[in-house]
Amino acid sequence: MSETPNLVLFQCQWCLFAPADQEWVDTQLPENIHHAKVPCTGRINPLYLLNAVQGGADGVMVSGCLPEQCHFKTGNIAARRQLDEFSDYLDHIGYEQDRIRFLWLDLQDRGIIQKELAAFEAQITALGPARNLATRAAQKAGGANA
């Protein structure tokens, strides 16, 4: 197996307030992290996650805004409810729930996304590659086709 895990980051386009952070995500994200920007975490259909999982993502991170700071009022807490259940459910059939992480970013925190991604990558590396539900060969630079 390759040493670096395949990660997929679904990022709410509003959650990175600091332009430097957003720029880092847009341009300097390591190659093993596939990045998909969404208008709101509430827009994330569980099918996106499934596509990432089937495409060979070893971990999926979703980053959104803090509660009550959602651009669309309640998109982030609706997403939490649904994705929390979806990760529980995938765990039931073999995609460990620790591989899916939902993150709320405080608009004031600078540079936190890098730290969080690094921590997540360490966590996934410890878990090893996810093979159970990866049914499509992982494409280079992440498998998500969302």
């Binding site: 596509n51 495409g55 499509r136 086709n145």
Partner: protein, 339 residues
Amino acid sequence: MNLILKKDELNTLLTAWRQDYEVYAPQSLQKFTHFLPLQDGAEPAFNKAHNTRVPPKALFLPTSEALLKFTRFGGYEQVPTETAPRLIFGIRPCDAHAVTMLDTVFEQERYTDPHWQARREATVTIGLGCHEPCQTGFCTTVGSGPFNHAGLDAILTDLGEFYLVETLTEQGGRLFSQLDAASEMQAAQAYELQQAAQAGMPIAFETEGLKQKLDQNFVSPYWEEVSRSCLSCGVCTFLCPTCFCFDIVDETQRNERVRNWDSCMFRTYSLEASGHNPRPSRVERTRQRLSHKFTYWVDQINQIGCTGCGRCVRYCPVGLDIRAMLRKANQLPSEVAHA
């Protein structure tokens, strides 16, 4: 040519065949029987049910198969079809008969389907006649039968201790060339059993004049009546040995153009891009399914497009029975044809 195959010699023979062929035989997997390649030490499972759940048409027209693979920069290449020699052992006459009907669809003068043809030409089929009638089947009603020879290279009749083998083609003869000829008495015994099996199948509905009745009642409350409880799922068509419809889909996630089984019972089957659907409800779809089998096939090849395997009756989730539908169709009004 009638030969005798002792049951305890069957495995030796199957093993010998495996030198030259991939041998497919019904085998239990999980919950029911499938046609699967025979592995070392495995034995065919004939006892559990008469037919495999999924019809053996799937060996020629897989549920999904790739037609093209897209390459980079807008190119594409054909996905070649496996053509290693295969032997299907223990196919029931209804299913084998159905394959010959599908030949008329896939192997036509103007357009031949290379995938189907390659698989067909690489395959030998050895049938096993049904000496016990099956309850949901109605093969004799629709012009097939428990010992029908269509589409087979050889057919076996179970006579207890041994099988009586009738070789029907040269290729079938070669496969059994080691066997001893059957005595006249044994042949007579088999013949008697075959006749009894044939006679044991009741006639499920009247086929005489059925086509005219269905044709003339294309617009009729009959269709609403028989389709009212239909769910318009694809069970009857997917498990049908003579249904062949498929859908061609570009699978963007795999970069392939694939064909998948499709069913006339689905809403999307005939839905056009404009939103118009010639068969918008289960009434029209049921009409299409029955008319295709019992009138369009008759127009095309002068045979009813059903071999009476009974799968659609057994597995319909709402218990719809094609035999009962057609018995009702027998009651439809019909004008005497003028021609």
